[in-house]
């Protein structure tokens, strides 16, 4: 057994100098900083009200429902089921997504596909968004690229728990409004 060497890092705490310890000059510095922001933004807001300098933003706020933000292309948003060329779901009801789902919010009922080359198809495909944690495992598990999370619909809300449940029709043809630029 060798001796345990604990590596320590000595952190140099910044010492306050005389003027900083007086406190009053620092108060003035702080008030100066915040009031420059105040007057700059006030002037900009006044100019915006007159229709001038609209390019220069007076606030970093994005006023969401009216003003949208560019979502990153990788962001996971509400699910959708992709379709084949004839419009039928690409899903083969292999249950991979239902199995991998950590929130157990996917419910698939399978049935036989009329085409002998395809084994199964979903009779119903339901996602309970009230339980979904938006982890994206279902998308990664899918061998058929049948489920994607790229609708850019992010304002999912309902007045009841049942309202949060999406059925196969909704998943194939999302009716929500994409909220992005």
């Amino acid at each position: 057994m060798g001796a345990v060497v604990i590596r320590t890092k000595v952190v140099q705490r910044p010492e306050l100098n005389f003027w900083e310890r007086l406190y009053f000059p620092e108060v003035f510095r702080g008030v100066w900083l915040t009031s420059t922001h105040f007057f700059k933004n006030l002037t900009l807001h006044a100019f915006h009200a007159l229709g001038l300098f609209r390019r220069i933003a007076a606030a970093v706020t994005i006023q969401y429902p009216e003003q949208l933000w560019k979502l990153p292309s990788r962001s996971r948003t509400r699910h959708r089921l992709t379709k084949r060329e004839d419009g039928s779901p690409r899903c083969v009801a292999c249950m991979m997504c239902e199995t991998v789902c950590p929130a157990r919010c996917i419910y698939i009922v399978a049935e036989e596909h009329p085409d002998p080359h395809i084994e199964k198809r979903p009779r119903s495909f339901t996602i309970d968004l009230g339980k979904c944690v938006y982890c994206g495992f279902c998308v990664e598990a899918c061998p058929e690229d049948a489920i994607r999370m790229d609708t850019k619909i992010i304002d999912t809300s309902a007045y009841s728990r049942e309202g949060m449940v999406l059925d196969i029709k909704e998943l194939l043809n999302p009716t929500g409004v994409p909220k992005t630029l």
Partner: protein, 375 residues
């Protein structure tokens, strides 16, 4: 007799409506100013828009208020009045109800002694623009301000909540410590101008140094002014001196209050801020004095003169008072949104170890100079 009472009543109504509307507006100022200081927009979602086609012109008039968020104070008031007024079962119900009333009452009565203008002559009556012309107005105001601590202490004590008691104790210790500093800084001004009457104090600030520098209190007592400002903010129990409230540690003396009773405590904070702004204006920034404005109009030091009717002079003076008060309200709000809270021990050490000796030294030096000038 009846006329005098009537005039005083009208003055009181004017003063109280000014103070109340400014205090209600403070909620809006607080939201919007903090937003602008932090590059945000601030509350702007309380809209009033009438659905009928014939209400279009009214909607057009309401639109600026909507966009600026000026209906939020009304929304606040509605919320405060509609909320359940919960009185904790284990509390002392009488004191619990009395405390916010005491707080609000003592914060309001102080405004009676604030002069907001010079005398004004209307129809042969000379009206002093001050609700109550008290000879010892300064003492009266500070008496009322110190009574205000009873509301806070009772609120904390009667709630039967440890955190509320802690908040009340902190508040009383803090207000006692800082009242001493305020009293000492005020004494400097009183010694220089030789009066406790606020109207007299303001009139005395109308003279000029070398004929062109307005001899306001801030020029004669710069250290006293800074100390007064610092201690005055402590009196209002707002950040950086909000240890009694301490939103993030103990919620403070009003933790057991809800609805309009909480609203009254909230309102008291704003009223005290306005009170300190009024006092700073009156004592250190010449009250209603406008530089170079005499009773007959502007008399500039370079010899130019601009005659004005007496009414215009009075209105200018009132406007000057309001602008100065608004400036101080802005300053207090800026400080409130700039500095972090003092720890409780830092707060008392600042009061007793630094500000109290400084105020004493300031008082002593002022006394020596006043004696030297007089002799």
């Amino acid at each position: 007799m009846i006329l005098t009472i009537g005039i005083q009543a009208i003055l009181a109504v004017i003063m109280i409506s000014f103070v109340f509307s400014l205090a209600a507006l403070h909620t809006w100022i607080e939201r919007k100013q903090s937003a602008l200081m932090q590059d945000r927009i601030g509350a702007n979602r309380a809209w009033i828009r009438l659905p009928w086609w014939w209400a279009r012109p009214i909607n057009w008039l309401l639109q600026p208020f909507n966009v600026l968020g000026l209906f939020h104070p009304i929304a606040d008031a509605i919320k405060m009045f509609m909320k359940e007024d919960y009185i904790p079962p284990a509390s002392n119900k009488f004191l619990h109800t009395l405390a916010p009333c005491l707080s609000l009452f003592f914060a309001l009565v102080g405004f009676a002694a604030i002069p907001f203008g010079n005398t004004i002559a209307i129809g042969g009556h000379v009206i002093n623009l001050q609700v109550a012309n008290i000879n010892v107005a300064l003492l009266y105001i500070f008496a009322m301000a110190s009574m205000g601590v009873y509301g806070v202490v009772l609120g904390g004590f009667s709630s039967n909540n440890n955190y509320a008691v802690l908040g009340g104790l902190r508040a009383s210790a803090q207000m006692l410590s800082y009242e001493i500093v305020i009293g000492l800084t005020i004494m400097g001004i009183v010694m220089i101008y030789g009066s406790l009457n606020l109207q007299e104090l303001v009139r005395a600030q109308g003279s000029y140094l070398f004929g062109w520098i307005p001899l306001w209190g801030v020029l004669l007592q710069p250290v006293g002014f800074l100390l007064f400002l610092a201690a005055g903010i402590a009196e209002t129990k707002r950040i950086p001196y909000d240890a009694p409230e301490g939103e993030s540690e103990i919620v403070g003396y009003f933790v057991e209050y809800s609805g309009m009773k909480f609203g009254m405590f909230f309102f008291t904070d704003y009223l005290e801020t306005i009170m300190i702004a009024c006092l700073a204006t009156t004592l250190f920034f010449g009250g209603w004095q406008v530089p170079y404005l005499a009773a007959s109009g502007f008399l500039f030091p370079w010899g130019a003169a601009l005659a004005l009717p007496p009414l215009a002079v009075s209105l200018l003076q009132i406007l000057s008072f309001i602008l100065k008060v608004l400036f101080f309200c802005w300053l207090f709000m800026t400080i409130r949104w700039t500095l972090p809270r003092f720890r409780y021990d830092q707060l008392l050490r600042l009061g007793w170890h630094y500000m109290f000796p400084l105020a004493l030294a300031n008082l002593f030096i002022t006394a020596v100079i006043v004696l030297w000038v007089l002799s």
